[in-house]
């Protein structure tokens, strides 16, 4: 039993932190937000390609690092601490897991090497207008084409980094009502995409409209079905939770630092019990969130079913981050409320986390159902 990262894992984290700091840290994230790019391409080149983060969880036979979710969590916590604007969550976590879970060996070989090199990014387009994370909400369709391929139709929404990803993994309702996943290059005719402006400007979302998009039979990942997609989403939720731990820790850190120097009534505000107790509560939230996130990382790597673990972790860490970010503003007073101060960036990132990859309410309902409580609702294989 050892509940800690190995020296190698800590070394990767250190390298990531150094690369982000070299790239400008939170200031770079602010720039990516303000210039509207929504992605820090220079940083992604450094992190994704040079440090190998793009292929962290991709097997080495496909050019990746062949590591797993413990390393994903170790790394994304560092990314979250500085709000790094890179497609790590969307491409290296969510889409990579989806391809690995749903695809055949041939499809792995076809899709993963370019992603591992950082030459291509991908994302999962699964939510639609309702934002309901359950498979029941999938209305987009795939119809078999006489020539052996498929025609995709529908509108996907809230797609992480959907405006910039090269490859879209689109969840659709296939023949017989089952869910299937198609790998669709973003440049395919009929794919229209529009960036959705987000309150959290450090993380981009897009709407993707599929107008009679013709794709070959080989675009369908594996044999279809909701389960592999659900598993990929569950793993990505664990990654997001760890990212939130990084953000929450950053809020605590800069708030503690401020409380030690900011003087009011002739004393540092950190000597007032009201501020001390707020910061103590933040500390407990950060440390407990970190614990459940790390534990979930281990389960994502080793447990056969992580739906409930992932939902529990996602709900807890999203709440902890939002509470810490909100408290950070309050501890800072007026200055924490300004555009120039970073507190607002964390606050908006944290707010977005309440619905990203499914709402915290949906996560709690998942946990409640697993306890046999009466919220019975079909969440099985997504087949209609």
């Amino acid at each position: 039993m050892r509940f800690a990262f190995t020296d190698e894992q800590e070394e990767i984290r250190r390298q990531v932190r150094r690369a982000i700091a070299d790239g400008g840290g939170v200031t770079a994230a602010r720039r990516a937000m303000e210039d509207g790019a929504g992605i820090d391409r220079a940083l992604w080149r450094r992190l994704g390609t040079e440090l190998g983060l793009a292929g962290l969880a991709i097997p080495d036979v496909h050019g990746g690092a062949g590591l797993g979710w413990i390393e994903i969590v170790a790394v994304i916590e560092a990314l979250g601490a500085d709000l790094a604007c890179v497609p790590f969550l969307s491409s290296a976590c969510l889409a990579t897991a989806a391809i690995l879970e749903a695809g055949t060996p041939e499809q792995h070989a076809a899709l993963l090497p370019a992603m591992a090199r950082g030459a291509s990014t991908a994302t999962l387009a699964w939510l639609e207008a309702s934002g309901d994370p359950s498979p029941d909400a999938i209305e987009a369709t795939a119809h078999a084409d006489p020539d052996g391929g498929f025609v995709l139709r529908g509108t996907k929404r809230f797609v992480l980094d959907g405006h910039s990803a090269d490859l879209l993994l689109v969840a659709v309702r296939a023949e017989g009502g089952a869910v299937a996943l198609h790998a669709v290059p973003a440049a395919t005719p009929g794919v229209r995409r529009a960036r959705l402006p987000t309150m959290d400007g450090t993380r981009a979302q897009a709407e993707i409209i599929l107008e009679d998009v013709r794709v070959p039979a080989s675009s369908r990942l594996g044999g279809g079905g909701w389960h592999p997609i659900a598993r990929a989403i569950a793993k990505a939720r664990v990654a997001l939770a760890a990212e939130q731990v990084g953000g929450a820790q950053a809020c605590l850190d800069f708030s503690v630092a401020y409380a030690k120097v900011r003087q009011q009534f002739g004393r540092p505000i950190g000597s007032f019990q009201a501020i001390q107790h707020t910061l103590a509560d933040m500390f407990v939230q950060v440390e407990t969130a970190r614990s459940i996130a790390y534990h979930a990382a281990w389960e994502a790597e080793h447990a056969p079913d992580i739906e409930v673990t992932s939902a529990a972790t996602a709900a807890y860490c999203a709440d902890a981050f939002l509470a810490c970010a909100a408290d950070a503003i309050q501890v800072h007073g007026g200055i924490g409320f300004t555009w120039e101060h970073d507190a607002q960036l964390y606050f908006k990132r944290a707010r977005a986390g309440r619905t990203l990859l499914g709402s915290t309410t949906a996560h709690r309902d998942t946990v409640a159902r697993s306890l046999g409580l009466g919220l019975a609702r079909a969440h099985t294989d997504g087949t209609r």
């Binding site: 003087q263 909100a326 555009w339 619905t355 309410t361």
Partner: protein
């Protein structure tokens, strides 16, 4: 106990309502719903004209004695505020002049000061801003370091103020400054009336987390105020500033609640439109918000009713803490009702829908005008008599 207004007061309400309907149906039609907390940057020219319109009709300084005001009762002031909010009349640019400086001068000003400053406020012609907080003295007003030195017939002011609303529009600023550098903390402060349109005054807007600029920094670098334009005696500025703070809790609270109610209406509508009201938890959170509004109204009526017979009762010290906490929670509820669409803006980088604005701007409510921590300190010591 009698919670009805007199028939005369009800007729006054009709009068206010009719006037607002007429005026906001005409040239000022486009001003409805503009301005107010989080929206102070909107249609400024039009709202300045509107201030003059209000002034010409005698609606500013309603409670002041003649000749500047009409000597209206507290309940009539409340009625005006309620109808003003109900008509979605524009957020007041003259609020600080009327309710803070005006009330302070009415209580503590010299006859000359009243004569000079109250009439242009009542006419809606001169706007005021407030120079209290400083970068190093936010919640701690006694920590003020802005200096004012008497040089001949005028005070020369040097220092920086922050969180000043309307500073770029205002004609005057009331400034808490240290006039006796030998004294520390509460002593040696004076309350000066400083023209804003003069050399030595620089205004820099502060962009807040909603992307708009609600507050400003004001830099005084040798700006002048006439020797006689100090309220109260030199060195007694602390007492005057505390009186001004007390006026922040006044009749406007019932008007504010009407704005809150319309935000809650928007949340109810959004919940129904999105079927979010199929979730009992959402419904109960909305119910709690509605209950909170009822609480606020009953609380305000009770406090004002005592106030109408003299001093505001200690219960009133809880009003800011209650509404700011309530409003912050309302913003969170709004986001949850909107679901994943809560994240999507009207346009980049920060064109917010009204409920998003409520959510973000309400984070300031527990900070400005005395943070929640300060409010609790005040309640503990003043209302409960706990030892410092």
């Amino acid at each position: 106990m009698d919670l009805r207004l007199s028939p005369e007061d009800e007729r006054f309400r009709d009068e206010v309502r009719a006037w607002l309907e007429t005026r906001l149906g005409g040239d000022f039609r486009d001003l409805r719903g503009t301005g107010g907390p989080g929206h102070e940057h909107e249609v400024v020219e039009g709202r300045m004209a509107w201030e003059r319109e209000l002034g010409a009709a005698g609606w500013i300084g309603l409670g002041w004695p003649a000749p500047s005001g009409r000597g209206a009762s507290l309940w009539r002031q409340v009625i005006f505020q309620e109808e003003y909010a109900r008509a979605r009349a524009p957020g007041r640019l003259g609020h600080i002049g009327e309710h803070l400086l005006g009330a302070t001068l009415a209580a503590l000003g010299t006859p000359e000061q009243k004569e000079r400053f109250l009439p242009p406020i009542a006419r809606g012609e001169e706007l005021w801003c407030q120079g209290s907080s400083e970068p190093g003295a936010g919640s701690d007003l006694a920590g003020v370091t802005t200096r004012a030195d008497l040089a001949g017939d005028a005070w020369a002011i040097r220092g920086q103020k922050i969180w000043t609303s309307h500073a770029h529009l205002a004609d005057y600023c009331f400034v808490l400054a240290r006039t006796d550098p030998a004294e520390r903390r509460h002593a040696g402060l004076s309350y000066l009336l400083v023209p804003m349109r003069q050399p030595g005054v620089t205004v820099r807007p502060i962009r807040n987390l909603t992307g708009s600029a609600e507050f400003c920094e004001v830099f005084f670098d040798g700006a002048r105020a006439a020797r006689e334009n100090v309220v109260g005696a030199p060195g007694e500025g602390w007492k005057v500033a505390m009186a001004t703070l007390a006026f922040e809790r006044g009749a406007s609270t019932l008007g504010q609640q009407i704005g809150f109610a319309s935000e809650l209406d928007a949340i109810v509508a959004a919940a129904r439109a999105r079927d979010a009201d199929r979730d009992p938890e959402v419904c109960r959170r909305i119910a709690d918000a509605w209950i909170g509004l009822r609480v606020m109204r009953a609380f305000a009526l009770r406090v004002l009713s005592h106030g109408a017979q003299g001093e505001l009762p200690p219960a009133g010290l809880g009003a800011k803490l209650y509404w700011s906490t309530w409003h912050r929670r309302l913003g969170e509820l709004a986001m949850d009702v909107l679901g994943p669409d809560a994240e999507i803006l009207r346009a980049p980088p920060c064109a917010l829908a009204p409920l998003q604005e409520t959510f973000l701007f309400s984070r300031a409510d527990t900070i400005y005008a005395g943070s929640s921590e300060i409010q609790r300190n005040i309640i503990a010591t003043r209302a409960l008599g706990l030892p410092r």
